[in-house]
Symmetry: C2
Subunit: 211 residues, 2 copies
């Protein structure tokens, strides 16, 4: 997998500090070891800093994703008047886009909690490639998941606020004002989650690059 | 930018192929040079292969993004009957979500065309980090852009197909069947574009990782 393993099979390897896994170099003079050892610390520290930042961002994202899920999931407004046949009530499961929103943000929250141990591994061992690559791939999938949930809900919220005369869909936010307010808040929280995921992907990519 | 340029200024550099930044080690025997040079080719070739695959995927994505933009942008259906006051006509700019869809996919198409030279740079010089990191960051932004456009339009298309009795929004696809068909096709093409972008991000991350 890693070419440093290949180089480890060679008898002599002076690039130890660069390729983290290298075997000790018996032939290389002490001066070189000293120089490269000196260069190792700031690099490891830099990667560790990225890892800590990654961990903090994940905790922020958990907050945003849980807020989005909970706000949308608990929103429920019953109007104080009703006719003989039906009671006017608005809830997230009236609209498929909102149901998808709750599912998508629930999955994102669960993923974020489960990803915390991997993030800790990346802090403790900054040079591990596998864990970071796994996080990057799953974060990329989560960008798509949260963005699609948020955008789908946003376009319904927009319709609920403004209606559309061309298709004869009327605005419902005059009646369900409280419902619309809370749903809009949930959409904003979900977009914040998606934004944090984008930042996490870029952060992982920066930490992955060789140097 | 690339650290290999820095190391090029040194008189002797044998660690170049492994760790582009390595300090020169005049003491190391010549056998190491031969070994590491031998190990360089497959690695460079591997990264070049990833670069070529990246380029091909980008061309596929251009096709999908342009198809999505063109299909949505040219969709226009006028019903064969009209009343005294209004003619029944459906076009993408009747709905803000569809307008956003066209803009988002137009931007994605333009970005993809402009990104081709950078992709070529990554093929010609597989070890350049800057260009690849730039592509990764912009691809990540494009995932969010295309996914949000596609999801927003998808939730409107779903509404147009099925309507929603809770909010009293009626399905319009009975009347505008041709319109709905083409819009659905455009949404699928846009999701394909978003999927290719996700794949491109992961590919760039794999190519970025040090080894």
């Amino acid at each position: 997998m890693d070419s440093s393993q290949k180089s480890g099979e060679m008898a002599i390897n002076i690039t130890e500090s660069k390729s983290t896994k290298g075997k000790a170099a018996a032939v290389a003079p002490a001066t070189i070891i000293a120089t490269t050892k000196g260069a190792e610390n700031p690099k490891g520290g830099w990667k560790r800093g990225v890892g800590v930042f990654d961990f903090i961002l994940r905790i922020c994202a958990i907050g945003a994703a849980l807020a989005a899920t909970a706000t949308m999931g608990t929103t429920d407004q019953t109007l104080p008047f009703f006719t003989q046949f039906l009671q006017f009530q608005a809830s997230y499961d009236d609209l498929p886009a909102f149901t998808y929103f709750v599912i998508a943000n629930g999955i994102a929250s669960a993923y974020l909690v489960l990803s915390l141990p991997f993030s800790v591994v990346c802090i403790v061992r900054p040079h591990i490639v596998g864990a970071r690559l796994l996080l990057l791939i799953l974060d990329t999938v989560m960008i798509a998941l949260t963005t699609s949930g948020a955008a789908g809900a946003a376009s319904i919220v927009y319709l609920a606020h403004n209606g559309n005369p061309n298709t004869n869909w009327n605005a419902i936010c005059q009646q369900f004002n409280d419902f619309c307010q809370r749903v809009s808040g949930a959409v904003v929280a979900s977009f914040i989650t998606a934004f944090i995921f984008m930042f996490l992907v870029v952060l992982s990519a920066v930490a992955l690059r060789r140097n």
